[in-house]
């Protein structure tokens, strides 16, 4: 137990598995049969491409110069032009390091940084530029966009030196907006356990980024309380307290509430075309990534 406690979660990442996963990702992430064939991701970056791709509704954060006034006049709603991106993409991984990520004996945080590191490896392997933001109620750490192994190494060092906050603070996804580049790809890794499930933040990022991915990391015992009887539950981030009389029925209701929150989040992500995956610490990072990449392929296919 002691050895497991001191072993950093990033040590569990297997290089060979990452390479195998990269091959799968290569096919899945590049598979855009509706838009452009090829073995490299060609992302949409308005203003940086030449070939017209499509129109879409104007959203907060869009550049006014991209508005197609004719299309706007026809549809009577603001429409912007999108162009086919002919270069590799820029990816930002936003990792939640709020206090809620520290619970569950660190397993939640461990899984989150494993996913972050694995995703960064895959994206860098696909010749993308990757940046990392760790955030809570503010941006706590930032690694600018970079490419290559040295960028991956720098990301790993940042992840190794980062730990979730012990208490206080909040989870504000809005705080990341200032560092994100418009048209970039954004992956948010968080437990999304707030009263609003970070839905306003996701909506904002959906306007900034070309594509937004949301990975919800939950502890497998998120609703399991170790004590019974009269409990004073303290929100580790807001310090808000409520008193409950913990029973099996109460636990069941809490699990239902968690399922309801996840369902709402999933619907919200679907509404804003955000790729969403929910996982728990009972799952392996590789499985989670495969599920996400698979759903991403299906997601793109639906697009």
């Amino acid at each position: 137990m002691g050895t497991a406690a001191v072993t950093h979660p990033l040590r569990a990442l297997n290089q060979a598995e990452l390479i195998r996963l990269a091959r799968v990702a290569d096919r899945l992430l590049s598979g855009r049969p509706k838009i452009t064939p090829g073995n490299r991701p060609h992302k949409l970056r308005a203003g940086h491409g030449i070939e017209f791709l499509d129109h879409r509704a104007f959203m907060q954060g869009d550049n006014l110069r991209d508005i197609d006034w004719r299309a706007t006049a026809r549809s009577r709603t603001p429409q912007i032009r999108r162009f086919r991106n002919e270069t590799s993409s820029d990816w930002f991984i936003c990792l939640d390091r709020s206090a809620s990520m520290s619970l569950g004996d660190g397993r939640k945080w461990g899984l989150a940084i494993q996913l972050t590191a694995a995703l960064a490896y895959l994206l860098i392997h696909l010749d993308n530029r990757v940046g990392l933001l760790t955030f809570s109620d503010r941006i706590d750490g930032f690694k600018p966009l970079g490419r290559g192994h040295h960028t991956y190494a720098a990301l790993l060092r940042l992840l190794e030196s980062t730990s979730p906050r012990s208490s206080g603070g909040d989870t504000l996804l809005h705080s990341c907006a200032s560092q994100l580049q418009s048209g970039s790809q954004i992956i948010v890794i968080s437990d999304f356990l707030t009263s609003d499930s970070l839905q306003p933040g996701l909506k904002l990022l959906a306007g900034i980024g070309e594509d937004v991915h949301a990975v919800q990391v939950l502890d497998e015992h998120e609703t399991t309380l170790t004590q019974s009887g009269l409990l004073s539950l303290r929100d580790i981030e807001t310090n808000r307290r409520i008193s409950i009389h913990h029973t099996a029925e109460v636990q069941k209701q809490a699990e239902e509430q968690l399922g309801k929150l996840s369902k709402n989040l999933r619907q919200h992500c679907h509404k804003y075309q955000i790729a969403f995956t929910s996982c728990t610490t009972a799952e392996n990072w590789k499985t989670i990534l495969l599920d996400h990449l698979t759903s991403l392929g299906l997601f793109n296919a639906k697009l």
């Binding site: 998120e222 309380l225 009269l230 539950l233 303290r234 409950i244 209701q253 809490a254």
Partner: protein
Amino acid sequence: MPNFESPLWLLGLFGIPLVWWIHRFRNIGIDLPVSTVVLWQNIVCPENKGHRPTIADPLWRQRAVIITAIVLALTTPVLDSLPNRTAKVWFDHSLSMHTVEEKGTRIELGIQQLLSRLDTEEITQATVHSLLDFSHSLQLEPHASIQNKQALRRWLGTLPQTTVKALPTPFLSKHENWLVTDGADNRVQDWIDKARIDQIIQVGSTTENTALMLLSVRPSLTQTGFTGIANISNQGHKNSTRRLQIRAQDKAVGEWLFTLQPGEIKHHYFNIPLNDTGLIEARLLHPEGTTEDALANDDRLSLIIPSTKVAVTGNCGKPIQALLQALPGIRLVSSTSATLNIVCASEQPLTDNATIWFYTGGETQQINQLPFWNPSVAQLSQLSLQPAPLLVHTSQAPGLEQTLLTADGMPLISFQSTPERRMEVRLDINTPQLTEHPAFPTLVTGLMEFALEQDLLGRIHTIQRAPQETQITPRPLHIKNSTSLNDTNITASELTHWLIIAAIILLFFDLIRNKRVLA
């Protein structure tokens, strides 16, 4: 019921509802951190209605007790200490306390006021000590005034009537120290300051007193019997007229009337024409029409003049009998009870006590030289006995070890001190040349004084009073230092400490409980 020295602090108890109100906002139960309380916020339970407990944390009761203990400690509560009040009463029973006031003697007034005060102050345990000799004490029974009054009277009656000779210093203790006195002795105030008296019961107001201060008697050197002196003092503030009466053998031998100014002392000389007096008494009587003396105990002085018992046996002749009867303080008795035997015989007497043996046997011879005294006979060394016509018995020389008188090379008087003081005299006691000699009375008296080792003619018998004994004017007394306040504080602080300790213990348990919950 406890008393509160600072009762205003009790207003702090109105803050207890505030404690309850504050604890309504405190979440009850074991503290448990979670990622978000959103998962449980819609779960309705009695303790969590509206996301806020509807009942106060049960800990509010414990904290209310803590605050109550602290508030009560601030009020400095004093438990009703009356059941535990004990007192040491120092009772002055000196001569001045026998002064008669309007409602009785000062001692009686002191007893009444003491018992009344003990009841008023609700002293449950009191021990009365003699102020003059603190080894004498009397334990009073609680709530038994009548019995205590009788016991005090009996106890004080057994104590010697003396002045305040040695004032004791009571030990500082939890007892209260009370003093019953008239304050006539000026040393009492100093003692009060040193002894830390808590309460003073002062009795008496009379100031007028005339007293006999001195009675002194000695054998008269010029007349038959005794001569004496009596001192009378007026200690009051008004003129006093008194009659001095001298009594001997229970009979008045003289009376004199005096009027004394305030503070005046009269010296009166008198003669008692009796050789064997026994008891000599001086009395101060108040003439008719004058006020009776407030303190009668100092109006009498008496002396017992001891007699020297002398037995004369043998053929000593009338002169020596007449001489002995004329000497004051000499009583002629039989030889069995005598302290001095004067024997005139030719045979050596067999006696067990001091003896002067005048040898009467054999021939007599007139001495021609002046007799010479041994220097050891100091009182007779100046006595000159003319040689002619002094006759001495020469047939048998005195055989005792020390020669006191010699003439013509012959020892005339010899002496030995053991086994009993014995003197042999070769002077002819029956010859008129000796008995009619002017130095005869002095010679016999000197021999008797030497044999008895007593001053028969120079003895002075005196009895006198110290001036402060007869001073009855009460002086104002005041308390400088008191121990009772300290005792009260000790009682109060003891209760305060208990409350503080209780509060600390409860706080400690509260802290332990909170740490356990947080852990």
